[in-house]
């Protein structure tokens, strides 16, 4: 791969970079700043009033109700991270090291499922998890008592949906870092007399850390915004932050409040991202890169 150094006087560079950069500034960066600005405004009779006021922030910080839901959202996100990584790692490892013949086919199957309409897939889970649904019917027919599982409209139902919709992300990141591992390092470990298991824990696992970390962070930030799963599979019984935000826009028509809750959620995600980046950086600098 050759690198081309380009100056901003070069029209080729401007033509390649400017359209995308401008689109992102106009429709992503400015909207973000706007959201932050809106949190200092107030509403009167469902109308936005332009002032500079800390009213919304005092409301956000003085109502424990919001923070209970935020805490629940963070807890769900952390559980989701643990579950998705536990599922994704062995699957990605198998895909990277075994299954040579069917690798492409399996990858296509996974991408295809990932790209199928999420609302429909979530509806499919209703049909499975319902009290009279597919799961209980199958369990009954292999000898379990009828209506054994009662997962629909519980936090467990929400979690199944979240894991289902997000597990593909860490699979991709972990798979990518596993296939990038130099095969010679593993062979060298075998030559030095290490067993397969020891090699896995001392060579493969540490070298797959970038994929593990980035997959985990991605699942965390994306599950902070889970909306469909708590609504459809959780039945709205234990709402998460996204529901709170939606309500403040749609039911209460309070934009500044919705904006403030959005900012809080983004801040939680950004903090996690920063913490993970710092942690990963320290880990790689203290252990040092294998020569």
């Amino acid at each position: 791969m050759r690198i081309e150094h380009k100056s901003w006087n070069d029209p080729v560079l401007v033509a390649t970079v400017a359209p995308l950069a401008l689109a992102m500034v106009a429709f992503f960066l400015i909207p973000l700043l706007m959201t932050a600005v809106l949190t200092f405004q107030t509403t009167q009779y469902y109308r936005l009033v332009w002032t500079w006021d800390l009213k919304i922030w005092t409301e956000v910080f003085s109502k424990p109700h919001y923070w209970t839901i935020m805490m629940r959202t963070v807890t769900m996100a952390l559980v989701c991270v643990v579950l998705t990584v536990l599922i994704a790692f062995p699957a990605a490892y198998a895909l990277a090291t075994r299954l040579k013949t069917f690798k492409t086919q399996i990858q296509i199957l996974i991408i295809f499922a990932f790209l199928t309409d999420a609302v429909l897939k979530t509806f499919g889970w209703i049909l499975i998890l319902d009290k009279n649904g597919v799961a209980n019917w199958l369990l009954m027919h292999v000898g379990f008592p009828p209506e054994m599982l009662n997962l629909l409209f519980t936090p467990a139902g929400t979690m199944i949906g979240m894991v289902y919709n997000l597990v593909a992300y860490p699979m991709f990141t972990i798979y990518l870092s596993l296939v990038r591992i130099d095969r010679d390092l593993i062979l060298a470990a075998y030559d030095a007399g290490a067993s397969r298991i020891r090699t896995f824990f001392e060579v493969t696992l540490p070298l797959s850390r970038p994929g593990l970390y980035s997959g985990a962070v991605l699942v965390f930030v994306l599950s902070l915004g889970a909306f469909l799963e708590p609504k459809v599979l959780g039945g709205g019984t234990s709402p998460l932050a996204s529901e709170l935000i939606r309500q403040s826009f749609e039911t209460r028509v309070n934009w500044p409040l919705g904006a403030a809750l959005t900012v809080v959620l983004i801040a939680i995600g950004a903090l996690m991202l920063a913490a993970c980046a710092a942690f990963a950086l320290r880990r790689t600098s203290s252990t040092g890169r294998p020569a």
Binding site: F28, T116, D117, K121, L127, W255
Partner: protein, 278 residues
């Protein structure tokens, strides 16, 4: 020695088993939907009593189904064009070029990937509402398209970037040495070599846009795309028309994936034969 080999076999079986289980997990709801789309009964519980296609008929007769299909198709087509072009340019700038403020450019174009879709939608909704109250427009399909482009372009960028990364630029040099102009090099060498990546990115973008719920839901105003149609439908009550819709929905996606795979294989074969000839 024997026990070592048996342990290895056990590990292999378990690893393969995980992948099989994962595929079952991925396809459980999809298979359930397909199965229930052919039921003759109104209730969606097992066992399925009889076979019928009546729910497909009922779905196609629903007055708000076809407008939703048209909206989804329009949004997905336009978003795909923008996301693919912007993503391809972005990928070249990410991987091949080095320039001042490249770090900023990378952060700016990658950040939407780290945003939950709902928050992305909400943030843009606020901006479009404020802008709309100043300029006198309201949210609709156009804002959905903008939202989709912001959300999907980073995905397209990553897909094309993989192709740019494995790019063999000696072929460009050869063309240039043979006297080709800059544009000819791009048309005859660069573009054909990047084409498989660009094509996958386009398919990826189309399907992401077609199936997108969160961003559309935030930015559509009163317009309805297919996923919004399903969401507002299942909120009222479940009906076998949604499994039927899911099954219909799989067909174009399946076709696109098959076409992409065939083209990818042909490109690989061409590359391989090109190498062996040279």
């Amino acid at each position: 020695m024997m026990s070592q080999r048996m342990r290895n076999a056990l590990v292999d079986t378990m690893l393969v088993g995980t992948v099989v289980l994962l595929l079952v997990f991925f396809y459980a709801p999809i298979a359930t939907l397909v199965a229930f789309s052919f039921t003759s009964s109104r209730v969606l519980t097992l066992p399925i009593e009889g076979f019928s296609l009546q729910w497909y008929g009922e779905l196609f007769d629903k007055p708000d189904f076809w407008p939703a299909v048209r909206n989804s198709a329009a949004v997905a087509t336009v978003s795909t064009i923008f996301a693919t072009v912007l993503g391809t340019a972005g990928a070249v700038a990410w991987i091949r070029y080095r320039f001042r403020l490249q770090g900023t450019f990378r952060a700016l174009t990658f950040a939407p990937l780290l945003f939950p879709q709902l928050l992305l939608g909400v943030v843009m909704l606020l901006w479009f509402s404020v802008l709309g109250s100043w300029l006198g427009f309201s949210t609709g399909l156009a804002t959905v398209i903008v939202g989709h482009v912001v959300y999907i372009t980073p995905f397209a960028l990553v897909v094309v970037a993989v192709q740019v990364y494995g790019f063999d630029e000696t072929l460009e040099d050869a063309a240039r040495d043979a006297g080709a102009s800059g544009w000819e090099v791009f048309r005859e060498v660069t573009f054909p070599l990047l084409w498989p990546g660009i094509f996958s990115a386009a398919i990826f973008s189309f399907l992401l846009s077609w199936g997108n719920f969160y961003v559309s839901y935030s930015l559509a105003g009163t317009a309805r795309t297919l996923p919004i149609f399903v969401y507002s439908g299942i909120a009222v009550g479940s009906s076998p028309i949604y499994p039927a819709l899911a099954t219909v929905n799989l067909v174009p996606a399946l076709l696109l994936v098959i076409i992409a795979e065939v083209l990818r294989r042909r490109a690989l074969k061409r590359q391989a034969s090109g190498i062996s000839e040279s």
